[in-house]
């Protein structure tokens, strides 16, 4: 009698419960923002408008997804050891995820493997790193960017002339870049250069007379540009493949009054570069999407921490900006970060 009564009661309770709860639907699944996540973002260097914009994007995402973002960067792009140390630090601090813009493709590979071994997902942003453990790459296609740059510069030169390239890299660990069998350069720099050279190779009258590598100071870039101009008086075009190189070269051209003689295709969209573009010193610039890079890197890092599937490769695209299209509304939006 008692047992039956208990069972009936339970049954009834269950039925009532079901009928009550069935009316309340469950909400769809989003990125869980209840827990604060510690995500460490380690980029190539702690100055420059480009990285600031990346940081802005990362911070926007951090705010949106309740992320405690730790932003770290060495003083210069060539300080690979320091970057490695930073990653090691983050591993020892048990970051939930690490976002890395590797200054060296191979130089950081090992430490990334280490992070993966510690079950910390690694997202690489802007520059890839030579590890299979990287969950996702967010950035632009360097090869394509190099080709765009070459295409425009060659068009500007009408297909003939001497070209100098000012690239950036940290490969000069041992002073040499291309001789070593191990690629210590930054992946994005290599790709852009490769893209540029491959495109330029189609034009027999185009001669890439010099490729210089700056580390990460504008002053060095300026010196390298002056040297290049001195070494090659017949130089008609300069392609710079990153922000500091562009700023250095732009400054030199402007100060030397070579606006009309040297055609220049720059890289990235720092405000000073845009001034140079508007002034006509620089004819075009290849821009990336630093804000998106930062934002998406953090977003995918959060998703990876949550065990969601993240795309292996996200191409945020590159665009060639010149004086004509720089004020297009859509380009305005890309070129000028909306700072309130």
């Amino acid at each position: 009698m008692k047992i039956i009564r208990l069972m009936l009661t339970l049954l009834m309770c269950g039925l009532v419960w079901l009928s009550v709860t069935s009316c309340f639907n469950t909400s769809p699944v989003y990125i869980n923002t209840k827990n604060t996540r510690n995500i460490h973002m380690i980029v190539k260097m702690n100055k420059g408008d480009y990285w600031n914009t990346v940081k802005l994007g990362a911070e926007a995402a951090a705010k949106e997804f309740n992320v405690n973002l730790t932003f770290k960067a060495p003083d210069s792009e060539s300080m690979i050891d320091e970057q490695v140390a930073m990653v090691e630090d983050s591993i020892s601090q048990h970051a939930d995820a690490i976002i890395l813009a590797a200054s060296s493709y191979m130089g950081l590979a090992q430490v990334v493997d280490q992070a993966a071994y510690s079950k910390i997902p690694v997202i690489s942003v802007d520059a890839e790193v030579g590890s299979a453990k990287v969950r996702s790459y967010v950035g632009s296609n360097g090869y394509e960017a190099g080709q765009k740059s070459a295409e425009r510069l060659i068009t500007l030169l009408n297909g003939t002339g001497e070209i100098g390239i000012l690239n950036f890299t940290s490969a000069s660990l041992n002073g040499e870049h291309e001789s070593g069998s191990i690629d210590y350069g930054a992946r994005d720099a290599d790709e852009r250069e490769k893209g540029f050279l491959n495109y330029a190779a189609r034009y027999p009258n185009i001669h890439v007379v010099q490729i210089s590598y700056t580390t990460s100071s504008t002053a060095e870039a300026e010196d390298l540009t002056r040297q290049m101009l001195k070494n090659h008086p017949g130089l008609r075009g300069i392609a710079t493949l990153n922000e500091t190189a562009s700023q250095g070269a732009g400054k030199v051209i402007q100060s030397m009054g070579l606006d009309n003689i040297i055609r220049m295709v720059a890289f990235d969209s720092s405000p000073s570069m845009l001034e140079l573009l508007q002034n006509g010193t620089v004819q075009a610039t290849v821009i990336q999407n630093p804000f998106s890079n930062g934002y998406l890197a953090v977003k995918y890092a959060v998703e990876a921490v949550q065990g969601m599937d993240v795309p292996e490769r996200v191409d945020t695209g590159t665009k060639l900006i010149d004086l004509d299209n720089m004020l297009y509304p859509e380009n305005q939006k890309l070129l000028f970060p909306f700072v309130k």
């Binding site: 009698m1 009564r5 009834m12 309770c13 508007q278 004020l327 509304p329 909306f338 309130k340």
Partner: protein, 608 residues
Amino acid sequence: MNKSKGDFFPLRPQTGQRGRMRLSAKLRSIQLIITLSFTAVAVLVAVIVAFMLYNKFAKTAEENANLNMQQIIEQVNYNLELYVKGMSNIFDTAEKQITSSASIDSPLLYERMDTLMSSREDLVSVAVFTPQGEYVVGTPGQSMRLNTQLQSQSWFTSAQKTPDISYSAPHIQNLFKGKYTWVVSISKMIQYKQDGELKSGILLIDFNFRTIDQLSRQVKLGKRGYAYILDPLGNIVYHPQQQLIYAGLKYENVEPVLEYAYRSYLDESTGEKRFITVRTVKETGWKIVGVAYYDEIVTTKRDLNQFLIWFLAAVILCVIAVSVLLSWLIASPIRKLERTVKQVGDGDLHTPINVSGAYEVEQLSRRFNLMLQRIRQLMDQIIYEQETKRKGELEVLQSQINPHFLYNTLNSVVRLAERGKNDEVITMIQSLSKFFRISLSKGNNIITIQEELDHIRHYLVIQSFRFKNKFRFEIRAQEEVLPLQTIKLILQPIVENALYHGIEMSPDEGLVLITAELQDDLIIIKISDNGIGMSRETLNTILSGGGKSGSGSGVGVRNVNERIGLYYGREFGLAFESELEEGTTVTIVFPAVSSSSNSESIEGEEPL
């Protein structure tokens, strides 16, 4: 009494093993029925009430949230209108100053412009351009960039198209050296004097987003909700995630917003339910759009949900507890009663029934108790009566084989024999033998009236020898009375009484008259004698017993009366009529019962 009842009452159906009731019986138990029905009704009511409450509250909460949101947006809209008005006021002021200024390049105008600029944080630049796009005058200290393409910019073209103030979409201010800033431009064609000449030009004032951002930031629509501003063409003027939208990382579905100036609706285009509220700023045609996430707005609804679930659970538990208790309260006395009654049914009549509980149950128990008492009484009575009957019969039988009577009779026989009166001896012995035979009558208590009358006749015959014919006797009986039944030996004690106490004392010759007749289904037997009679006192005591102890004949008479009463009911029995010196008549009345079996006729019997 505590012995197994089955031994005492072998024919009573034995109850099966206790506690193994069938399921259907269990389901029909009062307690379960009450519990279930009460719970069901209560739960149903609770659920219905909860649902109604939920619907009502949820609706209200939704409406409130919607209303609240509309109010917030309204407020922001109002503030924004004020701000826009402020902007146009500044524009008007600047215009007035420029127009009223004697010359466009006067230092006074410069100073005023400077003051105007420093008065507001959100002013970026003020400038006047010729319709050809040449810079005339502006905020002190600004120099133009090259390649500004200002003639193709929207503020420039729209100022040329309309005479009114026009507000531009957000764009980059690329005119002056320094920073590239996102601004909203206000522009209008105005008149100014230069070198004494009246010229027309375009006044441009750029505002940054500081104030708009502040205004929009006030909007709190849940955790994720926000407000954004659209211009009439659908360009986003302001959005809290403007950069994300500009970078193409976010998307805002502005098309349905553009169609309406004033609207609130539910949008599901992003896959999430969102409340959208649209208001339009009058002067600029900007639309302020509030976006609130449905699942946040309805937090109250979810809270309510949760509360109701717990509430329901608590109510259901309470209801179940209460209904179990209540049904127990109702059912347990009944069950107790049932158990007790069962015990009684099993034969234990002394089980006290003291069930307390509901009034009805108490009444039932009391009535049952009374009934039980009565049953006990009746049982006692039956036992008593049975015993009395048996005792009475035994007494009578004993009195029949009274040694005194036998001795007297035999004495008389001896005397007759001595006198050689053989015939009389034979008669006497025959009568005696028949007398005893009927007395015993094979142990039957019930005999026919015929037999009873024969019996008394034999007795009178015997006694008439004993009393030496001191009396006569006569027996008269209706034919129809004879086969009827009677208990045996009811006449002899009375006749004996009449002989010994009536006739023996009387000097005259005695007469004993016995009549038997049927009247209205009643057998009336009268025994009359003409003896000395009885006093009234004796009459009164004769049936009630007590007093008279003499020869014990009174016991015999009383015995008869009692036996008749026990067999036929108390209303039947003996009646005495007596008068001193006249005689006594005893009337026996009892119901006529025809013998069911006529087998018991006594052989060798001669009717009178």
